[in-house]
Amino acid sequence: MNEEPTVYEVMAAAVSHELKDFERWFLGLATGEETILLLSHVPLVGMALAQHTHAPNSVMSVAGWGLNPVLNEMPTLESEIPTTTIHWRCEAHITMSAPFHPFATKRGDVDVGFASAAHVDKYGNCNTVCIGDYHRPKIRLIGPVNQPLHFSCFGREIIIMPHEKRNFVDRVDFISGVGYLDGPEARSRLGFLGSGPVMILTDKAVFDFEPKTKLARLKSLHPGVSLEDTRGNTGYVHNFMPEEVAITPQPTPEELRIIREVIDPRGVLLPR
């Protein structure tokens, strides 16, 4: 392992470090090629890395087709789902929907979910529905998909998105995924099972949420990313954009070996 880790490998390691043993993780489908790389492949590798290191008893549910797939046998994920997924090796195939689905999602079965959005705001609220006025939107997006469930019932949510200024707003135009809504008391007032978003992971940085205010704050920059670059690309400004921040931990050589030799030996999940 002489090569430096790619940004995707750094992101996958960041996902892995957030995950714990005996947890249940839920990954849905994404729309568009770029989103698929960030929202499907990065967390897939991150979850697999956790299973190969510190979380062997965890269970990942992937794209509604199976639990704990054997990733190194995969062709590219999205393009082959239709006809071959049922024949891929995994620990359990998912053939029935709720109430027979192995994950009783609204009973709190899912410990960690993954979401993306066109817009995320300072309280971690997500918008996948529309930009502008709802009735005559400037841009219509895909719709709420499964975000209300992810953000109300899942234990913790990891938001993954490309780091572009337009993606970060003060207040989203349509709340499809409820972060901390308007402050630290909101979630308990709404009676939610889950504890809400814990991380915004981009291709430049990691944000977390300040415990008292629940405002998003820059936690670390990925290796080689400057603070100025990040600041310039973060559309909203708040108290938690510091002058100096940490560097996102790189994958260890052993983690990098597992990613490249065990999980994704053919490089179909993460470009390198």
């Binding site: 393009s79 895909i142 209300p148 995924g177």
Partner: protein, 302 residues
């Protein structure tokens, strides 16, 4: 049973599509870019049906083309998109122009609305929408108070479609429709949709003998009494995939996603692939044997 007296429900795409009147409340099976009854949808467009209300779930190219062809008035859905091929261009444009009404549901509730219809319950009591903007804009959802714990809930209305159209691998001329073993989730979702109305139309890849149906009775998931019509349409989900039988046509969907961005280009697409073909077989000839063989998947149902 006296087989000779059984009512035949086999008919042509044109005959089946004629059953759908302007303004119908209708559901199409399938998920994003998989398993949609596309041959039926093309025929609906050719017949010029208008003002449909689509009771949807996770919709894709089937809804986008209907919207682009001007057939749709309202969509109840959680998603309209083309999965790896990006946004649904016609849907997006129509919403931005205010040409269609969208009624938003979350994904879990969008499918549970069909389960609610199948169970015959008056509503789903749900507690996952608090804080989101869905109940603010979806006026069909009302707030209530639980008689058991006194807490608030949202009453989600059942799907209650008038028509449900699904595509399955095989069926007989009397309307029995069969699935392969090892169902995947989209087949399970389709199945529950067929339990929500007695006006079900099934298109199948192939019509098989009744004797084979009787031998495969454990796969007869949509028995004939549920259906009003059955239609043979080989590769009837193209350019969607039909899971276990063929992949989606990636080249075609890439082209579709590009052309649909421009109304004039999309008009040419419709002229060529929908209005310009006289029958489903003509459509398959236009797609070409090379493409059909390329996406084919043998043994997928095993």
């Amino acid at each position: 049973m006296s087989v000779v007296q059984l009512k035949e429900k086999l008919c042509s795409l044109a005959e089946a599509a004629k059953l759908i009147k302007n303004g119908s409340r209708i559901t199409f099976g399938g998920f994003t870019i998989h398993n949609h009854p596309m041959a039926f949808i093309y025929e609906l467009i050719r017949q010029g049906v208008k003002d449909l209300t689509i009771v949807g779930f996770t919709n894709g190219n089937e809804v986008d083309i209907l919207v682009g062809a001007g057939c749709v008035k309202r969509i109840e859905t959680c998603y309209v998109g083309l999965e790896k091929f990006g946004v649904a261009p016609n849907f997006r444009r129509a919403v931005e122009k205010g040409e269609i009404e969208v009624v938003e549901y979350s994904e879990d509730l969008a499918i549970e609305r069909f389960q609610c219809s199948a169970r015959g319950d008056p509503f789903i009591p749900s507690r996952i929408l608090f804080g989101s903007d869905i109940p603010k804009y979806n006026r069909d959802i009302k707030e209530g108070v639980s008689p058991l714990d006194g807490g608030k809930y949202h009453a989600i209305p059942p799907a209650d479609p008038e028509w449900v159209i699904v595509h399955t691998p095989m069926g007989d001329r009397y309307g029995n429709a069969l699935y392969f073993p090892n169902m995947q989730l989209p087949m399970n979702w389709d199945l529950v949709m067929t339990r929500t109305t007695n006006k079900v139309i099934v298109t199948v890849e192939q019509i098989i003998d009744r004797e084979r149906v009787l031998r495969l009775s454990h796969l007869n998931m949509i028995p004939r009494f549920r259906n009003v019509a059955i239609v043979e349409a080989p590769y009837g989900a193209h350019p969607s995939s039909y899971l276990q039988l063929y992949n989606f046509d990636a080249e075609h969907l890439t082209m579709y996603a590009r052309l649909a961005r421009d109304p004039a280009e999309f008009k040419k697409y419709l002229d060529k692939y929908v209005y310009g073909v006289k029958s489903h077989l003509d459509y398959l000839k236009l797609i070409g044997v090379e493409n059909l063989m390329k996406i084919r998947h043998v043994g997928g149902g095993l």
